[in-house]
């Protein structure tokens, strides 16, 4: 009786192990397709040509300008090492602002300007009341420009962990 249960246990464990390996291999093989957006650095390293792609990064501080038609916005998307100018005509999400994460879908023009068909805002994992954010800003400890980094946390381990996350983005 015991041995049959044990055998079933091993069969289940082996099956799970095999399944997990298969899933891991499949996911790493399709890595390219699972990535939702590319960073401006990726764009430089692997030019997409005429393909429609998504780029993600932060809206660079002081880069947003409204065109004369009132509907077109030009801004810069940056990942701190590379920057891409983006042009978009349409209504922007409420969270779209300088220093915030953004994902834009469109094509890279021959002039190096990324013409976006759709712009989505990406928010980070920090949540706090406005007064706390203001206090941090006054104290000069507010650094939202590094994505993935907690803006009010000073522990060194947190910084280290987030340095790697930032690199990936």
């Amino acid at each position: 009786m015991m041995t049959r249960k044990k055998r079933r246990l091993y069969v289940v464990l082996l099956a799970l192990l095999g399944l997990g390996t298969a899933a891991a291999l499949t996911l790493s093989a399709f890595e390219e397709n699972i990535v939702f957006f590319y960073s401006p650095s990726d764009l430089g390293a692997r030019p997409p040509g005429d393909r429609s792609v998504r780029i993600g990064g932060l809206v660079a501080e002081g880069s947003i300008t409204k065109q004369a038609d009132g509907m077109t916005t030009v801004f810069q998307v940056t990942d701190m090492s590379a920057t891409v100018p983006v042009r978009y005509t349409g209504i922007l999400p409420d969270l779209f602002r300088e220093g915030q994460g953004v994902v834009a879908e469109g094509r890279l023009g021959p002039d190096g300007v990324f013409v976006a068909r759709e712009v989505l805002a990406r928010h980070d994992e920090n949540y706090m009341p406005p007064e706390v954010a203001d206090a941090l800003k006054r104290a000069g400890q507010f650094k939202p420009e590094v994505p993935g980094k907690p803006v009010y946390e000073t522990s060194t381990t947190g910084d280290k962990v987030h340095a790697t996350t930032t690199l990936k983005q």
Binding site: V12, L19, F96, P129, P130
Partner: protein, 251 residues
């Protein structure tokens, strides 16, 4: 604990009388904690907590969205463990649990997807995107539905339960994918805020409503899943009685 004692401990719960006695003790507590958790959590979430510095009042959606997301993963994981126990040790209560928990897990996943969509539209600017996090959670929802359809698709309930358990174990691969999708790939969805290295990145005023509602969701689940397990056990008894009556009538 040795193998033999462990197996023995497991089998003590095979007796529904023992389970029902335990359930009778646990259920009133779970229901009470759920009520308190919902009252306190909703007050904190909707009234007492501040709006977010970036997202304003939409941050209040988080207090529903995140506990629902946690529960969708927790319920599925517990069902997968139950499926393993059912397949390996043939424990009857494990199947009863998986069947009872599935609609609740599907409900939590539906709430997670719907509230996420309602949060995404004003903040991201879209109801839905096919990024790794959103897609893997949608797959989780279909796994719940698939399990519920599969266990009832066979004339022989034993075979239905067996097939369902195998599906649950296969689908368990999706659980770590959901959890780590935001770290492994670029996603529109932001990374984890609470269960992450370096501690939570949510201000304490916003952490309390989140934790209160998370406890309320879990207690709600415990209370309702016990009722569903009771109904399932009664249904099995009804089935057995009907069979007995049919054979009596044939005599």
């Amino acid at each position: 604990m040795g193998h033999a004692t462990y197996a023995l401990a497991m089998h003590r719960f095979a007796n529904p009388a023992r389970f029902l006695r335990l359930a009778a003790v646990v259920q009133p507590w779970a229901a009470g904690i759920a009520v308190i958790g919902f009252v306190a959590g909703l007050y904190w979430a909707l009234v007492a907590s501040p709006p977010d510095y970036q997202q304003g009042d939409t941050v209040r959606i988080m207090y529903i969205h995140v506990p629902a997301a946690w529960m969708s993963l927790f319920v599925y994981s517990s069902m997968a463990v139950a499926a393993a126990v059912a397949l390996i040790w043939r424990h009857p209560l494990a199947e009863v649990y998986a069947r009872a928990a599935a609609p609740l897990g599907a409900g939590f996943t539906l709430v997670c997807l719907a509230t996420g969509s309602l949060w995404g539209e004003p903040m991201w600017g879209t109801w839905w995107v096919w990024d790794a996090r959103l897609t893997s959670v949608l797959i989780l929802f279909f796994l719940y539905l698939g399990y519920m359809a599969l266990v009832d698709a066979f004339d022989d309930p034993t075979r239905g339960n067996r097939a369902g358990c195998i599906l649950l174990l296969v689908g368990a691969v999706n659980v770590p994918i959901i959890k780590f999708s935001v770290d492994w790939w670029n996603t529109l969805h932001q990374p984890a805020s609470v269960f992450r290295m370096g501690g939570p990145t949510i201000h304490a005023d916003m952490l309390w409503p989140l934790l209160a509602l998370a406890i309320a969701f879990k207690a709600y689940f415990a209370a309702v899943v016990i009722t569903r397990m009771r109904a399932e056990l009664l249904a099995r008894k009804v089935q057995a009685l009907r069979l007995a009556q049919a054979s009596q009538a044939a005599e």
